[in-house]
Symmetry: D2
Subunit: 244 residues, 4 copies
């Protein structure tokens, strides 16, 4: 898998076969021989640059059936839980798999991400999206997480939940977390973090923090600077807590 | 190195020697035998729990001589640049080494962080802080980064700058980045990102985005919910750009 | 002039003549006899309620040729300058006249608003918009404000500027302000408030404060609460200063 | 009553008697003769300037026993309800009277503010604060507003509530509002606006909008610009609704 970009920054994934667009064709051979930094040209003269892709490129281009978590929210989780290579992460409510892949890219081959998804159609999408990558540190569990995590020891560094009713699995999340491990719960609504907070407290979690991250872009053009007039007013609340 | 916490969540690093506080002493033997999740008790009865530490625990407890980057800002960088295990990162303006350690923890043994710091006193602090860890994927360069990065090929995934005048090294940053790699520049002031933007454009960087991340905490106590009345109005702007 | 609303809250101005919409006609007689709170019905059965209009209703419905200041920004000016009935206000860059009418409605018959607008087409729009009201406390000056305010004594409580280059009139604004009076300068861009601040300082203004007001709406539907996901990221900066 | 300021912008109210500070004395005669813009000097040489005071000066200097509403929140109410001279306002939960005086200053002699306060000690403070002014458009009702407003017709333009349980008076607020009039409810907590919203809907209010206003200051010093690092994360929610 390679990622190519045109002059305008539009990205495409190319696999080891002919690439065909309305601006012409690049041969399979050209693609296979291309290295990062090379320029590829269609028979109609449209030019693309081969770039070193990162996980966000892949997430941007992968198949979706649902909204995906934004980079700032995934970043907030990494920032406040301190996960890194070798971390063991368990997540539920995988959607199209964007958080799954994002985490897999961080924890690396010595780490692991175990993901739970109840919906058949989402599982199919996620499988397809995983297959496009080279990760071998992922377990995808097609099952109802409210029946319990299959993990059987306290080896998890982070449990991440993106579920309508995250409270149903908080007790079991505590069971599989390391002493010192974190839970992070993404919810759009106030009522969800209220219930989650109560249940977190009930099952012994400490340092409960409900955070909302907002990112605003600044525009600087023609020597004029201002905040972008459009911004997301809200993506979601992320409730963090620690097993201590 | 182990991290222990008391009931109130106060954290302490303990090394393989006697731990002594005003609440009493824990013996060297107890500490060496302790495993994650164990409870340790001083001779005066004060109890501590051994937790699995993460990189933030270490950063919270390490030696400082300056302000450090906040978790939300480090998270923003991870979120928007998609770095992960194996990434090669070059940073300048290391301060006490918080971003250095945060990145080293993510990129892992197959990745690498090369850090530049001009000030002797900061270098000493950073060395001490690195020595407290087990990372062997760090190079600390005590040198003036405006004289050029020592890296000599296009193998860098991310250049991170926390310098008063980041513009001075943008051209050389372009040289050492992979095609597809990112630069992220942290600056408190508008004037800094203005200059940086212009220089980024001049040297061919694309997709220049100036972002400001704000985190607000929600309070939920006694069935009453409200945003915390205190919040940081501003930490800094982070200017992102890509070599494409 | 009366304001009527339908069930969905859509507002219409009706004058003393027949009102005709695609949902039918209300006779001139019915309109003239209607009092606040009455229900009016078209011959096709569409119902409207006569409401007590406020200045915002009128601003919402008036003729425009340009963007208008938002209620939160006008409110910020009232809030921080403490203007009220009897205040004397001088403004420049009237646009369609929204701030002019908003201020006229506050200062009342014992107060006064003097407004400067250079563009002929805007002056025509403003005149028309003023004519729809009963205000007799407004002077509209069709002239280039950079040539000086016509006011000749220190009797002004507030000078409000919504100009591309507000700095050109700051010295003269100082001349016409009461000791204790305020200037408020609306600018979308950072560069504008930077220049304005310098000039304000140069001409002796004190208590210079650059403020940015943001309003976020909360949604509460079906027992679910969340911030509205859409919000204006930026309307403008308002620079306040006082002649002291 | 006059307001004088020193070089640093510190304000003092002076009445028609000798003014005495640690920097010396200004005679009663000097004060009585002083006009706006004049400089007054103590016998020790400390200089003050007589300024034209606005309502915020008075609110800043008046007696308090409680937190007062911030200018941005009062401004938001003016901005979104469009009140002005001649408006009839009824408010409950007057605190020290800051909103009362702010509104009285806007509605002027042809308008009116009727204020309800249950606590004896607050009523005394408010009376004292009103006495310092020349407003004669205020009625202060020392009574429990949950027993009903004394107003007996639909002549109110705005009902403003700053009560722990605003829901108790919403039905009666509807009764006294003009068709087209507004209610504005200030509450620090989410739970309060949830209950208020439900009751507003129950009693027929329309256009229910829950707004949160935040003001951020920009710093511009020594050619360096940045948002102020301190800002209020939250003052309160203001729920607006209209009788239509």
């Amino acid at each position: 898998m390679k990622v190519i970009v045109d002059k305008k920054g539009r990205k495409y994934i190319v696999k080891d076969k002919e690439f065909s667009s309305e601006k012409g064709i690049i041969s399979k051979e050209d693609i296979m021989n291309a290295e990062i930094g090379d320029e590829l040209e269609t028979h109609m003269g449209k030019k693309y640059r081969v770039i070193s892709p990162n996980i966000n490129d892949y997430i941007d281009l992968m198949k979706r059936k649902c909204a995906i978590l934004l980079p700032q929210d995934l970043g907030l989780i990494v920032g406040f839980t301190g996960i890194g290579y070798k971390s063991k992460i368990v997540e539920a409510g995988s959607g199209a798999g964007s958080s799954l892949l994002f985490f897999a890219n961080i924890v690396g081959p010595e780490g692991h991400v175990s993901s739970y998804e109840i919906r058949e159609d989402f599982v199919e999408v996620i499988k397809e999206n995983i297959n496009g990558t080279e990760f071998n540190n992922i377990t995808l569990n097609h099952q109802d997480v409210t029946e319990g995590f299959i993990e059987d020891d306290e080896s998890t560094d982070l449990v991440f939940l993106d579920l309508p009713r995250p409270g149903d699995v908080i007790e079991d999340a505590y069971r599989i977390l390391k002493m010192g491990g974190f839970i992070a719960i993404y919810t759009p609504f106030v009522e969800q973090f209220q219930i989650a907070s109560k249940i977190l407290r009930k099952y012994g979690f400490k340092q409960i923090n409900i955070r909302e991250g907002n990112v605003r872009e600044m525009e600087y053009k023609n020597n004029r600077t201002r905040p972008n007039s459009r911004m997301a007013g809200h993506t979601g609340y992320i409730t963090f807590a620690r097993k201590i």
